[in-house]
Amino acid sequence: MKIKLISIYVDDQEKAAQFYTDTVGFKKKADFSQGPFRWLTVASPEEPDGTELQLALNNSPEAKAYQEAQFQQNRPAAMFFSDDVQADYERMKERGAQFTMPPTDVTASKIAILNDTCGNLIQITQLKQWQG
């Protein structure tokens, strides 16, 4: 058993596809439709066969309420790991990403939080290395 996919809600799949590829730098992995249903995933180019992020449309009142509540509580919908938060922050900022928290030292890690413009906060985490 493996974790191969996580799912987040987005309010617009086309906009989300653009944000997660152009701004974040992921690559589209699957884009498939059956009638009005669209299965859309992206993956990191550093790990093309790694975990996929599904961008699911929040097309029910329950999905919308859940997504809004997460956002209002400042709770990130997903967390990505980076080897260099500062560099990723600058790269994404240059491409127009809005950060609600610049790179900040917290316990055991350095984190930054950005708004994905599709209804979510996303946390970028860099774990601190300890010298043994």
Partner: protein, 189 residues
């Protein structure tokens, strides 16, 4: 008429794309050897739809004004949209929406059978997928009317029945690129 064990879809046929700027409409035509009344029933009655359509309907689509919930079959996590039948002139014209797709069906009596035409708007990138999906659905509908029900072949299930090859044929015909393959296509079925 093949059964589910022997069914393989034929080549792409009977489809056209009407391009109006960014707005594309898929048109599919299929001749069926049954009367418009029989075909109408298969298009509107939930028990018939369950045998061939890519969605479940929780009520009849056969009367103007009916409100019906359509559940996309095979969508991971479930996908439900509500529709209102905007036109139901039995057994000739049926119009309703499936999510943001408008579906317009016309049934024309020809030589004791029916010429069935479907118009639907689909995002450009997905229009060949839609054509391939409906193609297989219409084959199953045809079998159902002939008394050889194969059982619905939709969603990921269609991958086992030549959907990918059909998809490429329609994409080629419409002059569009085939988007990334869904993950389950790269896996062994």
């Amino acid at each position: 008429m093949p059964d589910r064990n022997t069914y393989v879809p034929g080549h792409a046929f009977g489809a056209k794309v009407l391009k109006d700027g960014e707005k594309w409409t898929l048109t599919l035509v299929r001749e069926l050897r049954h009367t418009p009344e029989r075909v109408w029933e298969a298009l509107t009655d939930p028990a018939h739809l369950r045998e061939w359509a890519p969605f479940e309907a929780d009520g009849s689509l056969g009367s103007t004004g009916n409100t019906v919930k359509l559940s996309t079959v095979g969508a991971p996590g479930g996908h439900v949209t509500e529709t209102r039948v905007t036109r139901a002139d039995a057994p000739k014209v049926l119009v309703y929406s499936w999510g943001d797709h408008d579906l317009r069906w016309e049934l024309e009596a020809v030589d004791g059978g029916t010429r069935l035409t479907l118009w639907t708007n689909i995002g450009n990138r997905f229009i060949a997928m839609g054509a391939a999906g409906w193609h297989i659905c219409f084959d199953v509908l045809d079998g159902l009317l002939k008394g050889v029900p194969m059982g619905r072949i939709v969603g990921p299930e269609a991958m086992k029945f030549g959907w990918d090859r059909l998809h490429r044929e329609y994409a080629n015909e419409f002059g569009i690129e085939v988007p990334n393959r869904p993950p389950w296509l790269s896996q062994k079925l």
